[in-house]
Amino acid sequence: MFRFDPYSPAVDADPFPFYKTLRDEHPCFWSEEANMWVLSRYDDIVTALNDWETYSSAKGNLMDELPNRAGATLGTTDPPRHDRLRGLVQFAFTKKAVEGLVEPVRASANRALDAVKGEKSFDFVADFSSKVTVDVLFGLFNLPRENEREVRDKAVLMVQSDPKTRQKGPEHIAAFQWMGDYARQMVELRKREPGDDLITALIQAEIDGEKLADREVQMTITTLIMAGIESLSGFLTMFALNLADHSDARRRLAANPALIPDAIEESLRFNTSAQRFRRCLQKDTVVHGQTMREGDFVCLAYGAGNRDERQFRNPDVYDIDRKPKGHLGFGGGVHACLGTSFARLATRVAFEEFLKRVPEFARVQEHLPWMPSTTFRSPTRLDLAVA
């Protein structure tokens, strides 16, 4: 009998065979291990994303929600309040607003590359993706530069779950609480010393004449740090992995960096770091003959929709000429990733520099250590041998 256990290390390592069975044989599947339904076909996921009234985010959007988070962040609020809150935050993430990050990302990438100059191999995660992401995010939020390392470690830990107990372990909850305390301190700091930054803007913002509650500001900042650090460094790592595995594509990008944006889109489709999010049904809903009940949770498996041959031809082929418009690498609907412009820009600029200085590289490990997470997917270490 087919099972789909998003806590299983086998799914962390390679979810794609499971996704195929889900799409072909169980397009609306009840996962006992996850205690929720799983939608895996592209069309079904898009339909759910476009119908926030039925598929609500107000009970949390992470597969394993963190305590007291739902309802206090953008991703866990439904319209119309969501839209007002998003309007406040979006301004900091528009294309125009993030344009100023080009030079900081370039400088940061080069500092990281200077540090490994002359090495025959290095860990892309520790030596490049996490360094660059933390560096740039601290700049974006204008955070004090001490404890960069600790912030990064906690951001990575808080998105994980325990594969044995099938829930967040004490260390994951503690990391989340640490980040909440950190965010609260940053909010206190900006209250004392307002600046021209996102945290100050959130503190001063009003929705329908009401200021955001301190907890909303704090949880929103916590989430932005988590997404900015963990999701972005996870995606940079997946992109590097794709380029290590597909040397023809990599050589084309190194020879013609103008192709990098197309390759980024294909990697977002091929193996996005944000594999699965969840919604909660607001009414009984029938999909493929299965009745899902009001109150049931539903997993939207973006990573499965992105490999659906009903939408993408030869979906298991990595093809940088594909230009996969409408992919689910950033989710979709009103909760589509807020940081798309930031992520695209940071990835493009970081890899322009990376490929200039490291045009030839290859994987060292045959088997990668994968992060234990029901929501995100990326290796915790990626050793690259350089020519």
Binding site: V46, N50, D51, P79, H82, D83, R84, R86, G87, Q90, F91, T94, K95, K96, K325, G326, G331, G332, G333, V334, H335, A336, C337, L338, T340, S341
Partner: protein, 107 residues
Amino acid sequence: MAKVTFIEHGGAAQTVDIPEGWTVMQGAVRNGVEGIEAECGGSCACATCHCYVEEEFLDRLAPPSQTEEEMLDSTASERRTNSRLSCQIKVTAALDGLVVRLPEAQS
């Protein structure tokens, strides 16, 4: 379903079927219409799904909310009297045959 025709700035036209209840922007993104960016995913927070609605359909639409009005002031291309954000136009049977023109730039 309603048929909606998107005419790009260069003149290329694409007609797509959009389910009732979806927004015009959602239909555009689902069908890969070039010229609609929809950076914010439809929460009326970015003005990159700007379109010009053909005059005959204008009064069939609910008027723009205050938030949409504010966002329309910051479109990348010129705001005209028939400017709307396509994420705020819900498709109904009455909109079958809708024609929208897309601006030169969204961002």
